[in-house]
Amino acid sequence: MTSTTGNTPAAPATAAETPAVAAAREDLAALRRQQAFAAADEAALDGLIAVRPPERRPRPDPVWDDAPVLVHEVVGERYRRLVLATDTIATTALAGQFLMITVPPAEGERILLPRPMAIHRRHPEQGTVEVIYGVAGRGTTALADVAVGESLLVTGPLGRGFEFPDAAEPDAALPTAAHPRPARTALMIGRGVGVCAIMGSVEDAARLGIAATVVLSGRSRANLIGPADCAELGARVIPVTDDDGSSALPALGGRLRGLFGSAPPDVILVCGAGVLARLAAELGAEWGVPVQVSLEAHMACGLGYCHGCAAPVATDPAVEGPLVCVDGPVFDAVLPGG
């Protein structure tokens, strides 16, 4: 394959351009924007991710369950909400943990790998959990076909979630670098379905009396996940969206600096975009507060044995790096050299 164009962009439109040609040009432009976005998001995580220090309390044992689907409804324009009856998981899951959801076979469509999904809400009294997901590809398309009343095979709770500094032992010790002071205020930043990963911490904050400020980011107001949950949980919400420009990084960074500059939160939790993780890490460095970020990776087992979910952490090539499913999905986000 030889080419004479090399890296030059598509030729500019001419007067004689047909609608098909115009459409193809727009497709190409959209592809370029998407490529640029993905590249920026990946680059933003570069050098930022570190494995969190060992947990002080053991994680709950994961189980698998046949979880009846109690609710399966469209949320906003782009998402779907599942309420699953799964008693043990609802009772034991920690904030920021996730499930592996096996997509049932239907009409010959066979989905082999379970899909990782954050536990958006836990309702231990009812023995239910909520999951909110976007239809992305084959697996989530097939998942969207599951009817209320059917059961989903789920495995969980999995992974290491978000942890408030010393929340587990609120009156343990005086704050040090390794043991920062117990959180009294927290800033959570979620974008898109990434909001789901942080909602468990909003629940915890409500339970623990931590004042939570939650940035909910999305394409438009109609597509924000979590406003109702935050209202129910008594968290302050800062909605930011692409359509009015409020989600843009400089705008959001300025706003947060304005809000918290004089009284920084005790911890920042973030999920949903690499660039937001970097912003959070920058704010954390400025304010001297820890930042935790929840990451995604392609997964097969969710249990640490398939070695499929390498975290974006540079390590000695002879040593395996951390795994998102067991060492994460929540990691520390620390500015390189910071």
Binding site: Q35, C306, G308, E320, G321
Partner: protein, 324 residues
């Protein structure tokens, strides 16, 4: 902060553990791999099992467990993405991260031993001479060794060791000098003659062959047609490879007298019986465990129930009954 008193909770996993069927003296599912007798012919495929699964399924109901491939020296894994799912199946290029024999012995083997079933340690190398030192380094740990020869042979510009009958023979002979334990050779799919490869393993002293590893494939993204996997190439696994591997098992079983362990796309007892009917003597389950962690135990239980129900004393009789 008040901690609610724990209340009893329920889940399907618990019910599954409790449903363990009584062993029936009327059915004998056992299978011999050299000097080792497995209580039943069902085990995980290498890389698709870890001791952590013991929390989710009654591993004691399996015939054996197989470890992820252990190399001699520590290795990292491949760049992300390491796996994906496409319509044709699962594709992985984990890159076989390994802590080396010493690391396996220290941190992994005790967890495997605690499972209470025979442990088959999978061993890898990038030159025919690299396998025996790994087995030596394992210092007798493990009940049998599976030699994963689906690795590029760095002595021969990257062609798989397992696609070269001579190299297979070399690997087995060298390892045989280190151990009397049963040796299983796990063969690749992309070979010119599976019969030649299986016979080379048998002639050199292997106690079984495992047919087969995943099939090398190249998944591309839909938009920019770039490779999905960090390593570009990965191994295709899952049900769509079954008809391809069935033929290989059929050919291998006709070519050698040692048992053939089938591996490729097995999800149910029916799939296992397909392989038994073309001559396999045991089966390994890989990809299916990700979506249904209990798949292996389901198969073990179903094999016993089918034999019982048909009045067959073993799987061989069950197969004869259909053909009668």
């Amino acid at each position: 902060m008040t901690i609610a008193p724990p209340r009893p909770t329920t889940d399907a996993r618990r019910a599954f553990f409790d449903a363990r069927p009584a062993d029936s003296a009327a059915v004998d599912l056992s299978v011999r791999i050299g000097s080792l007798t497995l209580a039943n012919p069902v085990m995980p495929a290498s890389g698709c099992f870890g001791p952590s699964l013991g929390r989710l399924i009654p591993v004691a109901e399996l015939g054996a467990v197989v470890t992820k491939t252990v190399f001699g020296t520590p290795r990292g894994g491949n760049a992300a993405h390491r796996l994906t799912e496409i319509r044709a199946g699962m594709v992985n290029s984990v890159g076989i991260p390994s802590r080396g024999a010493a690391g396996y012995l220290a941190s992994q083997h005790p967890l495997y031993l605690a499972l209470g079933v025979p442990v088959i340690v999978s061993v890898g190398g990038h030159r025919p001479g690299e396998y025996a030192p790994v087995v030596q380094g394992l210092r007798g740990a493990g009940d049998a060794y599976e030699l994963n020869v689906s690795c590029p042979n760095l002595d021969r510009h990257g062609t798989d060791i397992g696609s070269d009958p001579d190299a297979i023979g070399t690997v087995v002979r060298l390892v045989r000098q280190e151990t009397d334990k049963p040796l299983i050779v796990k063969l690749p799919v992309l070979v010119s003659s599976i019969a030649d490869c299986a016979q080379a393993a048998e002639a050199a002293g292997a106690d079984a062959v495992c047919v087969a590893n995943s099939i090398p494939a190249l998944p591309l993204t839909a938009d920019t047609r770039s490779p999905v996997l960090g390593n570009v190439i990965g191994g295709l696994s899952g049900p769509n490879i079954r008809p391809i591997v069935l033929r290989l098992v059929w050919l291998a079983a006709r070519a050698v007298d040692i048992p053939v362990i089938a591996c490729g796309g097995i999800e149910t007892a029916d799939d296992a019986l397909d392989y038994f009917s073309v001559g396999a003597r045991a089966v390994q389950v890989g990809t299916a465990s990700f979506g249904r962690p209990f798949a292996m135990v389901d198969i073990t239980r179903a094999l016993q129930e089918r034999c019982l129900a048909a009045g067959a004393a073993d799987i061989g009789e069950l197969i004869e009954l259909w053909r009668a």
